[in-house]
């Protein structure tokens, strides 16, 4: 199909404009100057408006709080990324009734079982965005893409010191351009649809519930 490539690019080049490009003014997507508390409040309000649940573990032990929460939900287990700092912390301190299930093999090795689990999936985040109420998730060897997608409940740990005003600010300050992971995800609530009569329904293909655990200054996230 290289003929197609040559032909298409040739036609485009023949018509390419010589006019100067219009200027871009990014002020409208630039940081808003919100305080830390304003960012937390805004993120929470926006995410709660689309059914996200919150667990505030600032100044406390998030593993213990999460244990209690999971026990109340009656979930079959907590699937977690074992080779991450938060995974190691979790495994080291876990004494809860909910079984811990490490995501320690390739998806193909346990696809059927993984899809059938009525469990929660735990992930870290690379911070959050206050303007839109959004979590930033990086995926890599230690944190699989499906961990935040397939389990019916997604639990995400968010360090409140890593909140940004806007997406534009987050991508610039974190230097995404030079280091995009294979899959970078922005998650702003549990899976939802309005395809039937514009009526919102949650949990269509991805997680039915999203729990954000707020932590602060935990070394596992630095």
């Amino acid at each position: 199909m290289s003929d197609a490539r040559t032909a298409i690019l040739g036609r485009l080049r023949a018509a390419e404009g010589k006019t100067p490009p219009p200027a871009e003014h990014f002020e409208v997507v630039a940081p808003r100057g919100w305080s830390g508390e304003e960012k937390i409040a805004r993120l929470r309000r926006l995410m709660e408006s689309v059914h996200t649940e919150f667990l505030d573990a600032r100044g406390g032990d998030w593993t213990a709080l999460l244990q209690d929460w999971l026990a109340q939900q009656g979930l079959a287990g907590l699937i977690y990324p074992p080779d991450t700092p938060l995974g190691r912390r979790l495994a080291g301190q876990w004494s809860g009734a909910t079984p811990l299930i490490p995501y320690d093999r390739s998806l193909a090795e346990w696809k059927e079982e993984f899809f059938a689990q009525e469990a929660a999936g735990l992930t870290g985040t690379q911070g959050g965005i206050a303007e839109t109420g959004t979590l930033i998730l990086w995926t890599d060897e230690t944190q699989p893409r499906t961990l935040s997608l397939v389990p019916p409940v997604h639990v995400a740990l968010l360090d409140v010191n890593m909140l940004y005003d806007t997406l534009w600010q987050a991508m610039r300050e974190q230097g995404w351009t030079n280091a995009m992971p294979t899959n970078l995800l922005l998650v702003s609530g549990p899976s939802k649809t309005a395809d039937i009569e514009q009526t919102l329904a949650y949990g269509v293909h991805g997680p039915k519930r999203l729990l954000v655990v707020l932590v602060e200054g935990d070394p596992a996230f630095s």
């Binding site: 199909m1 197609a4 298409i8 690019l9 036609r11 485009l12 023949a14 018509a15 390419e16 404009g17 006019t19 490009p21 219009p22 871009e24 003014h25 990014f26 409208v28 997507v29 689309v50 995501y103 998806l107 193909a108 696809k111 059927e112 899809f115 839109t132 109420g133 959004t134 890599d140 060897e141 893409r145 499906t146 997608l149 806007t166 997406l167 534009w168 991508m171 351009t177 995009m180 294979t182 899959n183 970078l184 995800l185 922005l186 998650v187 702003s188 609530g189 549990p190 899976s191 939802k192 649809t193 309005a194 395809d195 039937i196 009569e197 514009q198 329904a201 269509v204 293909h205 991805g206």
Partner: protein, 476 residues
């Protein structure tokens, strides 16, 4: 599809009370949700100017950016294919899928794949293609096409969907409860995701500097399609590229707010490569098919090129007084509403779809809401002229230019021009119409078309010139 179909279908749609109620409800909802999010006019103006600048800049350097995109995608391990026509595009899909022995495919919502008729092409090869977006799944069950580019099943109400599910899904009970209907689809489609050999998706924006494919969605089906199967094939029109990653935030913000009145969609999925060694999931191979299908021809004309700015938000149709009354299925081609009226004739040609640019009152509602400032009304006028064979100096003629030219119409306009060039003729014709206009037969060429849907016009008994001469102009 013949152009006359629009008239006939629009006429039928106007008489369908259920359809009109379904559209009215949905469009009113979408318009008010959008308006709430753009209540700050200063922000709207600035954001829109930025979005328009991003798209205009991308188009200015399109060939260069496409090459840069290709290079970066290849560096990232994503394979790039170029397709001149929809048949070429479909052939590329068939080839990749057959090399992998893929028989079961799950697919996220993609209008460009509708443009290609991809599902039919693959089904003809015996490949099962399951549309996984809930709206697309609903219309696929009913063998329909999308009636809206964002809300494909918006023409159906929940009773119709309840009936459809109870008939087409095995062991499904009849229910009108939206949560239960959604759960029913979830159960069917989860099995499909787990079993699929390949996933197909569209692309909302492709970033040249990083080699990244950006996809937005609320349901998670797009993530399933691009994550779970071992093969992912994405497809996009060649206009989707932007230069830099930092240009994505304004486009996303304009897209989701304009489309559904959301500050952001539940998921923004940025894909920059297949599974790396050591990663536990993600497709082993990722391909991108870049489709031309007439776009490079549109690009050749500096005015018409603005058509390619479109980010497919659907705001123009939500606000269109024609679309909201006749619905998406009245339009030939896959893109309905104002964007369809300018895009479809340029892709399919004015011979068959030359009526579309006329299916507008030029009210400008679409222009006011377009987040990237596409001058849709001016383009409609341009396409009307193209139909009559009048390409402006320096422009590139549209496919099928001149195919709607009528000698009678030409003659009328020539006479009109004469009347306005020669004062004596002007006075004579004014005199004739004011005094004897009543006597024009209703089936004369001047009145026939007008009177198909309107009452007979009454000519004033004195022309404006005469009135002014007699009464003067009052000064305040």
């Amino acid at each position: 599809m013949a152009a006359a179909d629009f008239r006939a279908k629009a006429h039928d749609a106007l008489g369908n009370r259920e359809l009109r109620a379904n559209f009215r409800r949905a469009m009113d909802g979408l318009m008010s949700k959008r308006a709430m999010l753009f209540a700050d006019r200063t922000e709207w103006t600035a954001l829109r100017a930025l979005g328009a600048a991003v798209r205009a800049r991308s188009l200015l350097r399109l060939p260069e950016l496409l090459e840069q995109l290709e290079t970066r995608l290849r560096d990232n391990g994503i394979q790039v294919h170029w397709a001149e026509t929809v048949d070429d595009g479909n052939a590329i899909f068939k080839d990749i899928l057959s090399r992998h022995g893929a028989r079961r495919v799950v697919k996220g919502k993609s209008m460009v794949s509708e443009e290609m008729g991809l599902n039919h092409a693959l089904e003809a090869e015996g490949i099962e293609v399951i549309e996984a977006d809930l709206g697309e799944y609903i219309i696929q069950l009913d063998h329909e096409t999308p009636s809206h580019i964002i809300m494909p099943a918006i023409h159906k109400n929940k009773q119709q969907i309840a009936r459809l599910f109870s008939q087409k899904i095995k062991d499904a009970e009849y229910t009108e409860d939206v949560d239960r209907l959604t759960d029913l689809a979830r159960r069917v489609l989860r099995r499909k995701f787990a079993a699929a050999d390949a996933g197909i998706s569209g692309v909302n924006a492709a970033v040249a500097e990083t080699g990244t494919l950006v996809l937005v969605e609320n349901e998670g089906n797009g993530r399933m399609c691009t994550t779970v199967p071992r093969l992912h094939i994405a497809v996009m029109g060649l206009e989707k590229v932007v230069e830099r990653l930092e240009e994505v935030p304004p486009i996303l913000s304009l897209l989701t707010r304009s489309a559904t009145g959301q500050v952001i969609t539940t998921y923004v999925n940025m894909i920059s490569g297949p599974r790396k060694p050591g990663e536990k999931d993600g497709p082993e191979e990722v391909h991108l098919v870049i489709l031309d299908n007439g776009r490079s021809r549109i690009y050749a004309d500096p005015e018409l090129r603005n058509t390619l700015r479109c980010i497919r938000c659907g705001a123009c149709m939500n606000h269109c007084p024609v679309y909201t009354r006749v619905g998406g299925h009245s339009y030939p081609g896959v893109y309905p509403g104002p964007i369809g009226k300018i895009l479809t004739p340029q892709i399919l040609g004015l011979e068959t779809t030359g009526d579309l640019p006329h299916a507008s009152s030029l009210c400008n509602a679409c222009v006011e809401v377009c987040p990237v400032e596409i001058p849709i009304a001016s383009l409609l006028v341009r396409l009307r002229s193209e139909g009559a064979g009048k390409t402006p100096h320096g422009g590139a003629p549209v496919k099928g230019a001149g195919s709607r030219r009528k000698s009678q119409e030409d003659w009328v306009w020539r006479a009109w021009a004469l009347v306005f060039r020669m004062p004596l003729l002007n006075r004579l014709s004014n005199f004739a119409l004011t005094r004897f206009g009543w006597a024009l037969p209703s089936d004369s060429p001047l009145l026939r078309e007008w009177m198909t849907v309107r009452s007979r016009p009454r000519f004033a008994r004195r022309s404006l010139h005469e009135l002014v001469r007699r009464e003067g102009i009052p000064h305040e």
